[in-house]
């Protein structure tokens, strides 16, 4: 039996996520510019950029895997999005969708790396190596933050998490989970690829890292993927720590809050080298995470 309403809802959510994701990317650039006392590009600039990349008259390809990488990344981002409860709408749901989403949000990076490695550019290889190291480094605090959350609420279901938070107050008001929030926020910076941890696409060192060979329509696909990913990640954060949302406006405001924390942190800190990042991740966020886990037992 085909449920037309559900399909229309899913497509609507996708279009909404795409537009809001692009606007978030624009807000990111605009806010950075305002902090540096510049005027900055218009908020819809990422949409123009994507259109321009789509309108390129040639796209160099390095074979099937190179084409497959961005498509895979975009697909995974969309799947992650459909697992997250966005304003009472959740297409897929399982008993452990918290874990599913937490790992689906990291897989797109692997898809980009798959495509980047097949291009054979040395800068791509260096970027991929850095990306994998960052992922290894951030797993531990990321896991600890989620363990603390799950231990406190006693559920792996995202919809149930939202319901519990709306009954008993947001996660962030619980002292132990406030610590988990700090840990998750640090990891979030690396998930978004923003400044203290933008070692993967360090533009001044290894010229965009994995993205160095991508151009034209491939790059447009990656931009689209980034927009969906940004929306999914901010929504996931809002669901975990700010009590989810019952309507889209509520969700938008919470996502904006999360995004602005990330932007402000990103615009004042310089970039870590990869060994510094790994050392940092395995020291302070891990210690705070273990304290949070112990407090919730």
């Amino acid at each position: 039996m085909f449920d037309w309403r559900l399909i229309l809802d899913a497509i609507g959510i996708l279009i909404y996520a795409l537009i809001v994701g692009f606007i978030f990317m624009g807000i990111e650039r605009k806010a950075m510019a305002r902090i540096q006392r510049r005027i900055g590009p218009p908020i819809y600039q990422p949409i123009i950029d994507t259109l321009k990349l789509l309108g390129k008259k040639e796209s160099v390809s390095h074979g099937f895997v190179y084409n497959f990488g961005p498509v895979f990344a975009l697909g995974v981002s969309i799947t992650a999005l459909l697992f997250i409860p966005i304003a009472n709408f959740q297409l897929f749901s399982s008993n452990a969708d918290l874990i599913v989403v937490a790992y689906l949000l990291e897989v797109p990076m692997l898809g980009i790396m798959l495509g980047a490695m097949s291009s054979g550019n040395p800068y791509s290889a260096l970027g991929v190596q850095r990306g994998l190291l960052t992922m290894v480094a951030m797993q531990l605090p990321y896991g600890l933050a989620i363990i603390a959350l799950v231990q406190h609420w006693g559920t792996f279901k995202l919809s149930q998490l939202v319901a519990l938070q709306q009954l008993q107050g947001w996660s962030i008001t619980v002292p132990a989970l406030a610590l988990a929030f700090i840990v998750f926020d640090i990891v979030f910076q690396a998930l978004l690829g923003l400044e203290p941890f933008d070692i993967i696409t360090a533009p001044a060192e290894i010229s965009m890292g994995p993205m160095v060979e991508y151009g034209g329509k491939h790059a447009a696909l990656l931009f689209t993927q980034h927009a969906v990913q940004l929306f999914a990640e901010t929504a996931f954060f809002a669901v975990l720590f700010f009590g989810g949302a019952s309507n889209l406006l509520d969700l938008f405001l919470k996502q904006l809050l999360v995004l602005f924390i990330a932007i402000f942190v990103a615009s004042i800190y310089p970039r870590f080298t990869i060994d510094q990042a790994a050392k940092f991740f395995w020291k302070w966020p891990t210690i705070i995470g273990i304290i949070a886990v112990l407090l919730t037992v």
């Binding site: 510019a33 540096q36 309108g55 151009g215």
Partner: protein, 200 residues
């Protein structure tokens, strides 16, 4: 100039417009104008004029212009100052790596006629013989206002379709190739590639 025309007529099989997207061509033209990404490649002394352009005073990101280190994604190539044969090799390779609607802005008088290096043995006097230039700014050095004016000129030319350096490069490839080979000797691309990628 006469030589170029001969080569252009030889092959009538180059298609510039993607047939399936012809309807959206005005939209793409507008987008191309509004989002020019610059290759971060500076030659000579003009590179020092870029920081004032990018920072708070002249802020070119207002117009969607962004420095981008990856040549595959970039649209605009600024030649900022004199070009030596050694740099010209890199410039040609980078220009060929960029993807098709691509624009080239020569910055200062050195790429036009050699400027103060007019009698130097090691400066390329006329860049236009080796790669097509869309807009040239005179001056030594042009101030950021002049560079901004040049970029505005490129934007206007994109809108009217006059910025066709990439088309000219395809049509007259043999002319440009011959001039490049005259300067560097035959087979310089392979030799240059072998220096960095020995296994090829």
């Amino acid at each position: 100039m006469d030589e170029r025309k001969d080569f252009g007529e030889n092959d009538g099989v180059i298609h510039y417009e993607l047939q399936e997207f012809k309807l959206f061509e005005p939209l793409f033209k507008w987008a191309r104008k509004k989002s020019l990404w610059i290759v971060a490649f500076c030659t000579g002394c003009g590179g020092i004029e870029m920081p004032p352009l990018a920072t708070a005073r002249y802020d070119f990101e207002r117009f969607g212009i962004m420095p981008n280190p990856a040549p595959r994604m970039a649209d605009l190539f600024l030649i900022t100052g004199y070009v030596t044969p050694k740099t010209l090799k890199r410039i040609i390779i980078t220009y060929e790596m960029m993807q098709d609607p691509k624009y080239l802005l020569a910055h200062g008088s050195c790429p036009i006629n050699g400027g103060v290096y007019w009698d130097s043995y090691n400066v390329v006097k006329q860049l236009d013989k080796y790669i097509p230039i869309d807009v040239a700014i005179a001056g030594c050095m042009p101030r950021p206002e002049a560079v901004m004016d040049g970029i505005m000129e490129i934007m206007r030319k994109i809108e009217t379709g006059e910025a066709d350096g990439w088309k000219r490069y395809r049509e007259n490839y043999e002319y440009y190739r011959r001039n490049q080979d005259k300067l560097f000797g035959e087979g310089w691309r392979e030799k240059e590639a072998k220096r960095w990628l020995a296994w090829i």
